[in-house]
Symmetry: C4
Subunit: 275 residues, 4 copies
């Protein structure tokens, strides 16, 4: 999305200005555009959400439809402007946000031919993800990045953890299918695995629950296991967050060799020597 300076200057003035407003958000106009867009997305998502409620659809159907057509029109204009503003429209059209933009407007037009396509309009909710692009600019940048960095740093530990969870789910699901059987709701191994996930994550709907003593005992073991397993990702993230947050530099004091200084420190906190 960042464009080399030389190419920016080669664009005609109004396109550069358009690009600035639509894609950048560190200028005043850009920020205003982003906020307006976010508001529009929120209104549009709210309209889709409310339309799904039978009563509201019956009473305010025409209003909601008007709002949806207005927003679809605005989104269409915005999409065209985006294609105009960038140097390589084809590349933008194939990018993640480009595809989402089309998906956000397509259902309304499609519904003219196929009325059933209307409900696809909810795809628009994915546009909510733009909120992250807008947040990125504000003071949240550092915070969100810290969280992401902590998650990325613990990537492998999380994969090991997920593999362990998946294996437990397959084995426990299979065992419970054999023990409880179809008469107690464990109608197949996939359903049984769904039950294992519901149990291990401590969600526990209760739509499927063990009835036999052996099944209840095994379920108890799985619960305590799942309970203990909560500890693992929490521990991983805590440790990584602590590390990325504290941001202690790796620099040793030239005076006393002490380490663990804060990143903003300019003198050793133990002996006062300049770092």
């Amino acid at each position: 999305m960042t464009i080399p300076a030389e190419r920016l200057t080669s664009r005609s003035g109004w396109r550069a200005r358009l690009h600035e407003i639509i894609f950048e958000s560190d200028t005043r106009a850009g920020r205003a555009f982003d906020l307006a867009l976010l508001t529009l997305i929120l209104v549009s998502v709210t309209a889709v959400v409310l339309e799904s409620v039978a009563e509201i659809r019956r009473e305010h159907g025409t209003l909601i439809e008007a709002v949806e057509w207005t927003i679809t029109a605005l989104f269409t204009v915005e999409y065209i402007l985006r294609l105009v503003a960038v140097d390589r429209p084809g590349r933008y059209a194939r990018s993640f946000y480009g595809v989402v933009d089309v998906l956000a407007i397509a259902p309304t037009y499609l519904a003219l031919v196929l009325p059933e396509a209307r409900s696809l309009m909810v795809i628009r909710a994915i546009r909510l993800l733009r909120v992250f692009r807008i947040l990125k600019l504000a003071h949240f940048l550092g915070e969100a990045q810290q969280l992401l960095r902590a998650l990325r740093a613990s990537r492998r530990k999380i994969i090991v953890f997920l593999v362990a969870v998946a294996t437990s789910v397959v084995i426990m699901g299979t065992l419970m299918y054999l023990i409880e059987g179809e008469t107690h709701g464990f109608t197949s191994i996939p359903v049984s695995m769904y039950w294992a996930v519901v149990t291990m994550t401590t969600v526990g709907y209760g739509d499927i629950a063990p009835r036999t003593p052996l099944g209840q005992f095994l379920a108890s073991v799985l619960m305590i296991l799942g309970y203990g397993i909560i500890a693992v990702p929490t521990g991983i993230v805590s440790v990584e967050l602590a590390r990325t947050t504290r941001g202690t530099s790796r620099q040793a004091c030239p005076g006393c060799s002490a380490e663990g200084h804060d990143e903003d420190a300019t003198h050793c906190k133990y002996c006062g020597a300049a770092l």
Copy 2:
């Protein structure tokens, strides 16, 4: 609530004394008043809670009503005294605690005209929040402040986290509404979003539960996601608590007046001067 010294002295003696008893809590009389008030609030809330039980209302209705009228009278007197004790009664009346005080006594009087207003008396439970003002005085001050400081310091991370949760809830709610449909209890997107919150927070009532294989698969993904997400706020708070607990000392550097030094620091980390 703190009043400049000069103004305090300008008040007549008994009003200053009254203010001391009702609003301060570091004198003996003030502490006694606070404890008496807290007891009264607890009795009053217990009365409201018990009155809601049909059996108890039938058998001890008159007693409970007597208790409520007595407490309402005492709260009315207390409210008048508060208005008298402060220099700007209008400002207190519009403050949070001032409004709560009126809300706590109004329903009983209103019930004389509109008997249905009685049940509003439960608003009184909000007065329980005064317990925090009273706890503030005791040894809990430091502890509660540490918790609050940790929460305030991680304010932005928590907002990023809540935005992520909200976006997931909207998207998953919409998807499940499309997949499961109205016949399986996902009657509208708002209801579907409610289900997503119930699932992600691992509450899992089971009043709404997926029935189709695809829905159950998606729900499993959401559960494991929600499970991992528990780790994030826990990690945030742990790290902040560790930091605030570790205790940066309140000492300012004699050289450059910088604050926020670690408790084990013997030299200023900014200018190197001995602390």
Copy 3:
């Protein structure tokens, strides 16, 4: 339970020996006694647990009864020996373990007169707590104490946390009682508070669940709140555990003033000076 040396010697030899076997557990005989006792308690609790299952009671009733009588006899002998072994039997009889010992044998005798008293035998399960006394001796001493120390150190933070939870439960319980009302299962404020606890702790039985849109919205807020609140005790305990486990001494290095040395360190890890 520890007895001054002079008094120990004043006791006749066999009583001192008896005391050693029954109360101490650092001698071989004492350890053997403790293990035997623990086994007996486990057998006895298992018997009580199994007797509650209708089928097992019907088929193995006589056997279980025999086991219970045998164990009651052994427990009675043990109780008498304990009273003989200590210098102040009255004080032991009134101590926590003394009372539990009587409660553990009384129901069997009572059942001779009142057959219904039999079920009280389950009180015996409390004797399981003795397992902690026995574990204390083994290598678990340090670990259990670390956990307890961490919990004790965070005592006040936990109280602040519990007060916050209790206030939320009262306020949310009251609100939901007003919103959902008796027709949706929120029959009284206490029941509504029970629902609030079930929801906030993410247990979510689903025996009571909100039906109105406003109730479902409020419940969602409570869930996310409860979700975030999980973070608080976890953070508290993690921080305290980290502190008590690391056991860094507060000693500063005489050479470079660095702190944060491990408790077993004899030299500064930064400059090598002897601590």
Copy 4:
């Protein structure tokens, strides 16, 4: 599984080569074999899982049966090759993986005589555990080991924790059995203990739920208890992970050979020698 070098050389060339492919995974051929095996296990487990779904069994039964027979044949060949490759086939046959290998192929053959034995084929899921052997080779080695080391280091604290949980479950299960009784679903103490586990781990199916006010109060206490108890294992694992992650370096002191120094240490903490 590791074999002394002298013995390896004494084996004939092709057996050493076979052993390398099947048992080691740091050569190219070994890695390819492991990946192929893992894929086969996944396909086989998927087949077993899908076969349990009535519809799929009806429509694709013949295909699935063909897949199962092919894989059983391949697993049989693999098992024979494993026995040939090792020096002591008897010892391998009795090892954990050896037994699992037989269990993975036996049901298909057994089903020729006893058709009911077919469902035992799911035992094959246990073969999924091999994934850990394969992951061991990749970059995950260090991460998985860190997790395991953290768990092993907190072994005793976890046992103390489990004993506390078990005691609570027995006592609370017994109390609820006495309070709620058989009419409210607490049909026996074991069932009641199952309910206590379901509640304490915050799973909360709702298949059994307290109905009496006292039972609901006690359940609320148990929930808040269980809620707080989540904190304990999380705290334990976080602290241990932080410690193992922080990384005491593997460097031994040149002065006194002591190990376990912090990574930022420049002098031995036991004798003060420079590291």
